[in-house]
Symmetry: C2
Subunit: 201 residues, 2 copies
């Protein structure tokens, strides 16, 4: 079985479940997925209203590439959407990645890095328009648990990242592997990307 | 509104979502809940197949008490169930806490600390018996999303911690506050503690 390197982006004020929901699912299959938390520097990174996570790679690690990018949302995106270092890293890492994913307002960062130009995408449903304006060249979906557009896969708010990640795992490693991760987490999957009880009316 | 200190126990090999699912929900209301990650020492603590989280308190901090204890499960419980320092701290912190909660195999640690003697409890449904034998004085429930027994609230595997935490938030701060946290996370709550699609047959 092939092995995928998951680059999990950290920045001050990331939303805890945006990051750790997906990482839980990847982490269920360490023989297939290797998780690498990456940040601008190697300093601890504080989550929004939560603890600090330690990066294990930084934007300076030029030799590293990631098969899967995971970009969480959170309060901190409001600062990072104007951080050239982060946006440059994201554009470069995205160009090398097999799959580019985001959760919640993380899609605003992908948009600002130019990675959603010409693509369909979604984001969290509270403050939808605020994120959507960051991607004028993006077709924003107001009703979607997650959206697949080529290799750009964006999910709705917070917990939606778990369903999206299980879909990504299914795509890359097969349905059995994805269903195992969900079962081990006693998680009832939403298989339908279009089923969105939180859609913007 | 009163303020609750959430002591979130960290140990090597904790399960990511066991910890961060509940913390996401508490973190939605920082005016009500203050999160304090606590470990045996102040060294970074690595999750099972995941990144390191930084403690902000240790077992040495005698002056600290916690209104809510959150005990995650994970591979690391197999070591910690024989760690006298952790079990002693847990028994002492539990005696002072208003609510004692666990996720997944974390209930095995509560049992070993004597906190589930005479109580009903549940745990993850894969490896159920292995955990249940840690608490011979406990009435283990094979079918439950979570179990409330006095101020001991134990949840089933991994993702069940989110539903349990929303029930705890509802109990302590009201339904509106709990529903807000779920809405902001675009999370469809399981309100029924007895609804368990993963029950041990």
């Amino acid at each position: 079985m092939s092995r995928f390197r998951v680059g999990a982006l950290l920045f001050e004020g990331f939303e805890m479940l945006d990051l750790y929901g997906p990482l839980e699912m990847y982490g269920m299959h360490p023989d297939i997925f290797t998780i690498i938390p990456v940040a601008q520097s190697m300093a601890p990174v504080r989550a929004s209203n939560g603890p600090c996570t330690l990066p294990e790679a930084s934007f300076e690690d030029q030799g590293l590439s990631y098969d899967i990018l995971l970009v969480p949302g959170g309060d901190g995106t409001r600062r990072e959407e104007n951080n050239p270092a982060l946006l440059t890293w994201l554009a470069e890492a995205g160009a090398q990645a097999q799959v580019i994913t985001s959760v919640c307002t993380g899609s605003g960062l992908l948009a600002r890095a130019g990675l959603l130009d010409g693509h369909a995408a979604t984001t969290n449903k509270l403050g939808f328009d605020e994120v959507a304006r960051l991607g004028p060249e993006t077709t924003w979906q107001r009703s979607a648990r997650w959206v697949v557009s080529g290799n750009r896969i964006t999910s709705s708010g917070v917990s939606a990242g778990i369903d999206m990640t299980l879909a990504v795992i299914e795509q890359l490693a097969g349905k059995e592997i994805a269903d195992e991760a969900a079962l081990w987490a006693e998680y009832t999957r939403q298989h339908d990307a279009d089923a969105d009880p939180f859609a913007v009316r």
